[in-house]
């Protein structure tokens, strides 16, 4: 049964003991569904403007299309599972808080790190791409002077971090507006290329004339394309991080997340369609700004300017949302003493996790400037892979998380704002596709995959041996829920 409930149901069984009270200030509860949409889509939409097309280089044009579909199924499952669990676990930290209540502290620590790395690396990639965009777009629009990429990277991250520092309502209201403009730019491009009439300006004959053009590296290439197929939707699960700041998480999270994934599925389809019909796949597979390039190919200057603006806004929205999400995860771990408690502070005036926001700024800047510093733009792929892999590890956690959530608190024992249909099909599907994408990452970035897992293993050992002794055991369970079944 799928439902968004308006009032709590009767909960059978003995009443739950009261949750341990949080000491001190709390985050502001000011967000609604449009902010959640702006956060989720804002983080992801940049993936349509750049990044998804590396899937074309990995597996050809049809490989990228299949990746868009398969990974789209993965993220639909993520959205369904997150909507159910987060509408019940309305706390900052999102999946981190879920892990604390369903799996255990060490898993929660790992999930917290997955979230921080996923969003911080994505933020670094956004800032890095923005600096390349400034160079590329200014050149395409007629400026031939030099553009200082360091200045763009540092300024973008600092200004967005300051915005986040000052308050979540303004941050995500701005994200909603600039994300909306970026999405409209894609729709306008579809009409500008007469996408509704595929035989007029778009050309697909190059794709259909020979298998070598559609699937140049065979079906293994399709697997390899899955890794960058993630880029179409990577980060939509970030909506969960704002749960504690929603006026009604039970309403806002499912509504914002589900409309967000629908928006992204539409954007992904439009993006592939106009780019595949306009650019040769050999070029598309390495392009830094595929949608902007497609607009340039039409020869319409106003369209090119609109897509330039859309591309810049999309990177800004993504970096902005990433700062919001990474800081919430870091803050939540500090609040529970999983990390130094100093990070768990809330600004007395702006009600934001200001220390977590500031602490992560130099990390993001360091990774964003590295490809520029070494003059190796291709290192961006490695940084993106850190983000993708951290996300993948988190998705693999969501499978046992969902099974245990339903088993420890069966339907009817908890008030769920949303109950997703067809359980356990979404969880099983998610697990299978996540495994496929892990294999795809092995094909292209095996060293990075092993390195990242070793990093998480070392961090886990550090947590168990040195850190967990500062954590109060029973106080970690913060939800006012009944005792889990079987315990």
């Amino acid at each position: 049964m799928t439902e968004i409930e308006s009032r709590p149901p009767q909960v059978p069984g003995p009443p739950a003991p009261p949750a341990p009270p949080r000491e001190g200030l709390s985050l502001s509860k000011v967000l609604g569904p449009i902010h959640i949409w702006g956060l989720g889509v804002g983080i992801v939409l940049v993936g349509e403007f750049m990044g998804w097309n590396f899937a074309v280089g990995k597996g050809g044009m049809f490989g990228a299309l299949i990746a868009a579909w398969v990974v789209g199924v993965l993220y639909t499952c993520v959205a369904m599972i997150d909507s159910e669990v987060t509408s019940t676990v309305a706390a900052a930290g999102g999946q981190y808080t879920q892990a604390k209540h369903t799996i255990g502290p060490l898993m929660a620590f790992n999930v917290g790190l997955f979230l921080v790395l996923e969003y911080t690396m994505l933020e670094a990639a956004d800032a890095n791409v923005m600096s390349y965009l400034a160079t590329t777009i200014s050149g395409q629009l007629g400026y031939h002077g030099s553009v200082n990429q360091y200045a763009f990277i540092v300024l973008a991250i600092m200004v967005l971090a300051f915005l986040n520092y000052r308050g979540v309502l303004a941050t995500l209201s701005i994200n909603f507006i600039i994300t909306g403009i970026a999405f409209l730019a894609i729709v306008v491009l579809f009409f500008g290329t007469q996408g509704f009439d595929p035989t007029s300006q778009l050309h697909f004959s190059g794709l259909t004339s020979s298998e070598s053009n559609g699937l140049p590296y065979g079906w293994l290439g399709v697997f390899a394309a899955l890794q960058f197929g993630m880029w179409y939707y990577l980060g939509i699960e970030g909506t969960c991080q704002a749960a504690e700041e929603c006026r009604s998480a039970a309403r806002s999270i499912p509504l914002g997340t589900m409309t967000g994934i629908i928006t992204l599925l539409i954007a992904a389809a439009l993006t592939w369609f106009v780019c595949a019909g306009t650019l040769p796949w050999q070029y598309l597979g390495v392009s830094i700004t595929p949608l902007f390039d497609t607009a340039l190919m039409t020869g319409t200057k106003s369209l090119a300017i609109l897509l330039a603006i859309g591309t810049i806004l999309a990177t800004l929205a993504s970096a902005n949302g990433c700062i919001n999400d990474a800081s919430r995860a870091w803050f939540s771990m500090g609040r529970d003493n999983y990390l130094p408690a100093w990070f768990g502070a809330i600004h007395p005036r702006y009600r934001t996790p200001f220390r977590a926001i500031i602490f992560l700024v130099p990390v993001a800047i360091a990774f964003a400037v590295l490809p520029v510093l070494l003059n190796k733009p291709e290192l961006l792929g490695t940084i993106i892979t850190f983000s993708i892999l951290s996300a993948l590890l988190m998705y693999s956690f969501m499978v046992p998380n969902m099974f245990r959530f339903r088993r420890l608190w069966p339907i009817g024992t908890l008030h769920r704002g949303y109950t997703h249909p067809f359980h356990p099909l979404p969880a099983i599907t998610l697990g299978l596709i996540a495994a496929m994408v892990l294999f795809a990452t092995f094909l292209g970035y095996g060293t990075v995959l092993v390195t990242l897992v070793v990093f998480y293993l070392l961090a886990s050992v550090w947590f168990v041996v040195f850190r967990y002794r500062y954590v109060a055991r029973g106080k970690q369970f913060t939800m006012p829920w009944p005792r889990p079944k079987g315990y």
Binding site: P17, I103, G104, P105, M107, A108, N110, L117, H203, G206, S212, P216, Y217, A224, T278, L279, P280, W281, Q282, Y283, L296, M297, G299, L339, P340, A341, W342, F359, L370, L374, K376, E378, G381, T382, F386, R407, F442, G444, G446, V448, L449, V450, T451, V453, V454, F455, L457, L458, A459, S460, V464, Y470, A472, R473, G474, K475, F477, P484, G486, Y487
Partner: protein, 151 residues
């Protein structure tokens, strides 16, 4: 350090309060771990790009479809790409069914490391979870069965 809860009779763990210096040290440790492992790998990883010099030929001689030649011509006209780069891209992307060779040994090692990591995390987490539930809700009732027994 543990106290006994008078109501439930459960031992409650009282964590030590970490000093500001200790908090700083822990912050530095996690930051150094992050930077050394990830920054180090990023520094040393070299992306595999085509190193071979490609002779620049006119579009008409490239082994691509007529539609692609037409698209490249438009792209060159609008300054999106130049002819030598187009030649390089076509050379880099020629059809190859063996582009992704799978080294079985590396595959086993990679997924072995992932398996060890996941096993460690889940086993320790389940053990810690019992401790959390016991302290939060009191000792398990006689009717409650273990979740492992349920499955």
């Amino acid at each position: 350090m543990t106290d006994v809860n008078a109501a439930s009779g459960v031992r409650v763990y009282q964590p030590p309060k970490q000093s500001p210096r200790g908090q700083l040290v822990d912050s530095v440790i996690i930051l150094v771990l992050l930077m050394v492992v990830l920054f180090g790998v990023t520094y040393f990883v070299q992306s595999s790009t085509s190193a071979t010099e490609v002779e620049t030929r006119p579009l008409s001689e490239l082994p691509i479809t007529p539609t692609e030649k037409q698209q490249y011509a438009v792209a060159i006209e609008h300054g999106i790409v130049d002819l030598p780069t187009a030649n390089q891209q076509v050379a880099d992307n020629k059809q190859d069914s063996n582009k992704y060779p799978i080294a079985v040994g590396t595959l086993i090692i990679t997924f072995g490391v992932i398996g060890i990591y996941l096993a460690f995390v889940y086993l320790v987490s389940f053990k810690e979870y019992r401790e959390v539930i016991r302290e939060r809700f009191g000792p398990p009732s006689s009717t409650a069965s273990s979740p492992e027994a349920d499955s």
